[in-house]
């Protein structure tokens, strides 16, 4: 075989990927039990999705959902926290928790031969946590220390301040960790109350992915979660009037070698009919290495190690945001270039057929890569559970994205990106960059104190 280096080889016909089917049942408690067969490696992933998260933190108790879920592994029944973890270690199991605005997710991945004991330990943590005063004090203290340390991390400072700018007092206006003040005002009773009111089977889905039979898992789950019942109380958050933040905001970090930037505004919810077109638009704008913004700021200008944009699709409208860390001297120009890129994709420089084809191809041709491990498969299934997506959602994703046109992208960009509402936040060396910022025509910079977040 001779190699032709005058042109790149064309990919052959696509081998279609079919998402494995989800077997479903519901226990009398309302707990949904879903299993997905995934037999490549003798590893099993258990995930529990509860459709309550940081947005369900009561006002003044920001961080309650996260600390409540964090405390599930701090002892159960007769077992101390250490004993729970010794139990997990004997199964070769890894435990993770993930708290978002809309949901909480607890994950255990273990060797398949330990499916029974892993599920039993998992259920003990979820349904029968000890939630003792002493453990609460220790965990709260660790979280307060974490908050202290995050004050040194420009990216974390920016993330926290940015959601506050965009959402103010709305339930999306804080990060899951909460603040020093809100953690300080909490008691273990708040955690017990949150567990009793929110971590309930009628709001939960257990997803198990691996080399397992649905009937076995259903039987094991029914036994392990026996006695756990009830449904969540309290209404889900709704949209309220949001603040109108200043266009240009600065948190001073004297001597910082780089400026951490966030540029964005509140955009759209997960159930927008424009979902697929927006995902495609974002790929071209800032969703991949070869996106307009990364190529501009990194590959042309050398301002940064990398820049990216994202729409955070949630139950209620989530943020659109550009995230980048740029060399201090390049701050004003990086902002100017970013604003121009966001504005121009709305029509003055619409996506080209080639750009869109590249973005769509990246999303669709590599789709199978997202379902390689048991954990990836389980996580995908939790998306269906969280947002009530149809079971054929994964089968339809590729054709729907392939159906997005250049006109669709321009239309959704014009509709959902509003340059006049874009808020810019800089965490950086204000004294050095102030002069350059004056030429951006974004008005006077609002200097924020990091202590207010």
């Amino acid at each position: 075989m001779t190699v032709d280096r005058s042109r790149l080889p064309e990919p052959g016909p696509t081998r279609r990927f079919v998402f494995p089917s989800i077997e479903k049942s519901v226990l009398p408690s309302g707990l949904r039990v879903w299993t997905v067969r995934h037999t490549a490696i003798p590893v099993l992933t258990l995930m529990l999705l509860v459709r309550r998260g940081a947005a369900d933190d009561p006002p003044g108790k920001e961080g309650l959902a996260a600390i409540s879920v964090d405390m599930l592994d701090e002892g159960s029944g007769e077992r101390s926290a250490i004993e729970i973890h010794e139990g997990l270690a004997r199964l070769g199991a890894q435990l993770d928790s993930d708290i978002g605005s809309d949901a909480s997710l607890l994950t255990v991945t273990a060797l398949s031969r330990f499916a029974g004991p892993a599920l039993s330990l998992f259920a003990d943590m979820v349904a029968r946590p000890t939630l003792s005063e002493a453990d609460f004090e220790r965990v709260r203290q660790l979280r307060l220390h974490r908050l202290t340390q995050l004050r040194d991390m420009p990216g974390a400072v920016a993330d926290r301040a940015f959601v506050k700018l965009l959402y103010g007092e709305h339930p999306y206006g804080h990060t899951p960790l909460g603040s020093e003040r809100s953690l300080g005002s909490m008691s273990v009773d708040d955690v017990r109350q949150f567990h009793r009111a929110m971590i309930r089977p009628a709001e939960a889905t257990l997803v198990v992915s691996g080399d397992c039979e649905h009937a076995d898992i259903e039987r094991l789950a029914a036994a392990a979660f026996d006695g756990w019942d009830g449904s969540s109380t309290g209404a889900l958050p709704v949209m309220t009037t949001l603040p109108r933040p200043g266009r240009l905001n600065v948190i001073a970090r004297p001597g910082a070698p780089q400026s951490e930037l966030r540029i964005g505004h509140v955009a759209v919810p997960r159930n927008t009919p424009d979902y697929h077109a927006l995902v495609a638009a974002n790929m071209v704008l800032g969703g991949q290495f070869v996106s307009r913004i990364n190529l501009n700021l990194r590959e042309e200008k050398g301002f940064t190690y990398g820049a990216r944009t994202s729409f955070d699709f949630r139950r209620l409208p989530g943020p659109f945001a550009l995230q980048v860390s740029v060399h201090t001297a390049a701050t004003a120009e990086a902002i100017d270039q970013s604003l121009q890129e966001i504005a121009s994709i709305r029509g003055s420089r619409p996506v080209t057929t080639d750009e869109l084809a590249l973005g769509v191809a990246a999303l669709t041709r590599g789709y199978a890569r997202s379902f390689e491990t048991a954990e990836q498969v389980a996580r995908a299934a939790t998306q269906i559970a969280l947002y009530d997506l149809p079971d054929n959602y994964f089968a339809e994703f590729v054709p729907k994205v392939e159906g997005v046109t250049v006109e669709d992208v321009t239309r959704v960009a014009a509709e959902h990106l509003d340059p006049s509402r874009l808020t810019t936040l800089i965490v950086g060396d204000y004294d050095t960059i102030a002069g350059g910022l004056a030429h951006l025509n974004l008005g006077e910079a609002v200097v924020l104190s990091p202590d207010t977040f």
Binding site: M1, H85, T148, E300, S325
Partner: protein
């Protein structure tokens, strides 16, 4: 558990490893060059990593970005450089394997004709940004520079970090890039693994077609510095933009796969991996004098080091933390681990091996593992024996390894404290020189 594979060495010296896994319609291409920052010299640091960036900027027959055609075909891809090796990988839909091989072979065989001063100076800027973002502007980010510089003598290839010194990056010249490529980036210094949804025979014939005509380069002699010996107790201090002080303690230890490497890996887990570990239990859970603690045996090709790090809770000094760390290590060296600790360590080691086999590609997947074993010990078929190294660890062998290596006779302790609060550092520490 083993990974079925075949290995062929092409006439130009390139090793080709193939593994079939038809469970998902994707294929991993993983290419290791046996060169890293250990092949650099003082005054010329940061070069291997800067070079890795240039590998994404186009080659003779595709003199533009490396990403667009591959991402357009649905690939994910990346590369990384460490002290011992540089790796590049793509995970592509099965139908785009040939494209990935075309691209990898073009930059192996034909990079220099497309190299320009403009690309070079742009990527140097990107790397300087990477250094600012991940080291200079990150709390405790300069710790690796200070620790490696104190652990290894100035002429030892582990004395510097992979990101390199700013002055060296600024002094790098295009001609250095050319010389570096000719010396290290050729088939005889590389290992190619292809894993996934492809017939082994087809994968091998494609690899032959794309790589067989690339000229072999000069043999690369192994880097063999004189054994570094750490004597005495080195105490260093860095002031940083941090709220809470942190202590790092490190000892020189055996290299990857050498005697005691598995023992020390398990010892590090027993000391600080998870809530059941001795240091977590003592420092964070019971005494609450630390907010976090970690430990690792950093096994590298020439030598290793065990490093323990802990961050002080407000109101506590690093001297308190260090005392508790030393006591726990002395206890492990005297009494050894419990039978239960060993049993748990073994199940966890087995699980970690299994978790790494879940993916065909990327960092740490099956193709990366095959290349690691092939590059470092010349035998891709090392999975079972690697796990056996752990299964053979006994309470006594672990105790002896700790007693032998984690001693106060030779160690480095670094205090990182908030600016102006040197009083929080361990006593008798002198300022570390980092740039």
């Amino acid at each position: 558990m083993n990974i079925a594979y075949s290995k062929h060495t092409l006439a130009n010296g390139l090793d080709v490893l193939v593994h079939e896994d038809r469970s998902c319609p994707i294929v991993a291409v993983n290419l290791w060059y046996h060169v890293g920052s250990k092949n650099e010299t003082p005054g010329r640091t940061g070069f291997a990593h800067l070079f890795e960036h240039l590998m994404f900027e186009g080659s003779q027959h595709h003199d533009k970005g490396f990403f667009p055609p591959l991402q357009g075909a649905g690939a994910s891809l990346n590369g990384s450089t460490n002290a011992d090796r540089t790796n590049y990988w793509e995970v592509v839909p099965s139908n785009a394997l040939e494209l990935a091989l075309w691209m990898e072979s073009d930059r192996m065989g034909f990079l220099l004709p497309a190299l320009t001063e403009a690309k070079f100076s742009n990527q140097r800027d990107v790397v300087l940004n990477e250094r600012r973002q991940n080291y200079e502007n990150r709390p405790y980010g300069l710790a690796p520079m200070a620790m490696l510089a104190a652990l290894f003598p100035p002429d030892h290839p582990y004395h510097w970090t992979t990101i390199g010194e700013i002055a060296d990056l600024n002094a790098a010249k295009l001609e250095d890039v050319r010389a570096f490529f000719s010396r290290y980036y050729h088939p005889a210094n590389a290992s190619l693994a292809i894993a996934g949804d492809i017939a082994a025979a087809d994968a091998l014939s494609l690899a032959r077609a794309y790589f067989e005509d690339i000229e072999p380069g000069p043999a690369v002699a192994p880097v063999r510095p004189a054994d570094a010996v750490l004597s005495g107790d080195t105490r260093l201090l860095l002031e940083d933009r941090v709220e809470l002080p942190r202590v790092y303690v490190a000892w020189m230890t055996p290299a990857m796969f050498a005697d005691d490497d598995a023992e020390l890996d398990l010892a590090a887990d027993i000391l600080a991996n998870g809530k059941t570990s001795r240091l977590y239990k003592r420092l964070v859970y019971d005494e609450r004098i630390a907010t976090d603690v970690s430990a690792a045996q950093n096994s590298r090709e020439i030598a290793g080091f065990v490093q323990v790090a802990a961050t002080a809770a407000p109101g506590h000094t690093l001297a308190e933390l260090e005392r508790a760390i030393v006591l726990e290590i002395e206890r492990l060296a005297a009494e050894g681990p419990t039978a239960d600790e060993i049993a748990r360590g073994l199940v966890q080691a087995e699980a970690q091996f299994m978790f790494r086999l879940q993916t065909i590609g990327g960092f740490g997947g099956k193709s990366d593992q095959l290349n690691a074993y092939n590059t470092f010990i010349g035998d891709p078929d090392f999975f079972t024996r690697d796990l056996t190294r752990y299964q053979r660890v006994t309470r006594e062998s672990l105790r002896q390894a700790v007693a032998r290596h984690l001693t106060t006779a030779g160690r480095v302790a670094l205090s990182i404290v908030p600016r102006g609060r040197t009083v929080l550092a361990m006593p008798d520490s002198s300022p570390a020189q980092v740039s």
